[in-house]
Amino acid sequence: MGSLIFDVQDVTLRFGGVVSLNNVTLHQNRGEILAIIGPNGAGKTSLFNSLTGVYAPQEGTILFTNSQDKSISVIGKKPFRVSNAGVARTFQASRMFSAMTTFENVKIGAESHRGLGVVGAMLKGPATRRDDRNSDQATKELLEFVGLTSQANTIAASLSYGARRRLEIARGLATKPEVLLLDEPAAGTNPAEKIELAQLIRRVRDEMGVSILLIEHDMKLVMSLAERLYVLNFGSVIASGTPDEIRANPVVIEAYLGSADAGVAEETK
């Protein structure tokens, strides 16, 4: 504990004249559940994309440090390299392989870090078969872990929202990451699913030791789950702290409910 897993310094990302991230500095400790919140268009997903190599910010540094104390600089690395280094993610509008079954989706995650092995694949040699069995086993365990065993052979596109989210988490975990980035995992799920999801996320951290970085709009979920939060608004970090600190911060309330809301908040109390 205590060591940094993500260290983001002064990151700025622009698209044409639009500044998507403005001088963002933040860090995540190993083993922490960290949340990033902020209104629509605040740059949260841009931040995620920068952390995973999808976007390359024009300025700043992003350092990812794995458990062997090896650091890599994320900016300029392709997404698959970042993934191989130990960063897994889910997407805002969940991007499963929709025409595959649940099982196949997770299995792809479990296999993705191996070498090519074409000849083995064509001839189905014993090593290939053993690999395949191991992936099957790992997949089964992960499906069990997220509670999707009964839907293993369902086509991903026909899963419910809640199940899709869990599938994406399982698929990400299959790559054996050290940190899991979740982009609005609760979007579109119903209240019961949200509770299950929160439990699952906590179990991922507690039982698998994977740090969690979370973007979420559902405040109830975030506040109950996160140990620390950063608040983004128009591309900049405007506040950070524990859930209680954030809840009481007038700057945050203003960002969410509008400039007049400090007053509204008082009136409703």
């Binding site: 044409g16 639009v18 629509n40 605040a42 405040m219 128009f234 409910l257 509008g258 007049a260 409703t268």
Partner: protein
Amino acid sequence: MLIVKDAVVRYGAIEALHGITFEVKQGEVVTLLGANGAGKSTTLRMLSGLHAPSSGTITFEGNDVTKVKAHMFSSMGISHVPEGRRIFPQMTVQENLEMGAFGRKDNYDEDMERMFTLFPILKERRKQLGGNLSGGEQQMLAISRAMMSHPRLLLLDEPSMGLAPMIIDQIFRIIGEIRDAGTTVLVVEQNAAQALRLADRGYVMENGVIAFSDDAAKLLHDPRVRAVYLGESVD
């Protein structure tokens, strides 16, 4: 003016709106509130023909417009400022405004001048490419572009998204002016307080349905609104 009855919208296998009913009266500003993914944008997209409802009806000024194609709406008097502004990035400010008047056959120079008085910054930038404007300028451009077709109903999708508070204030002031000049406005907002102070009435959406509605003044103090946004439980 606008009446929506039991409208259902699907994206592929997923139902995004589960039958919503609401109306907008002549001369009003109505706001649709709700958390992310509640179906606000989908509602607006449905109202401008970008996504036809799979059931239900939409009536505008007495005409059934449920099945009308998107490109017909602007000439019927409905203009839509889409989410994320959607400025034509490789067109100049002036060309963007001209696009707004695409369906018009009369002279629109006067309207363009009016837009330039409303947003003087656009006049300064009229030769610049839309893609090179800042977020706030793009939003102003998007609104003026929509106003170029002389709409009787203006649909605004999150005009404050990603903008600094000062700019937001300015944009809301202009929306007020637009209403005063006689255009009915339906605005989708995250910035609840701002929107409610401007609006006459508000609808609050949750998970693809309209959860409740009321006069804006009352909603402003309704704890349920706060709960929707900040995830607090209502005691």
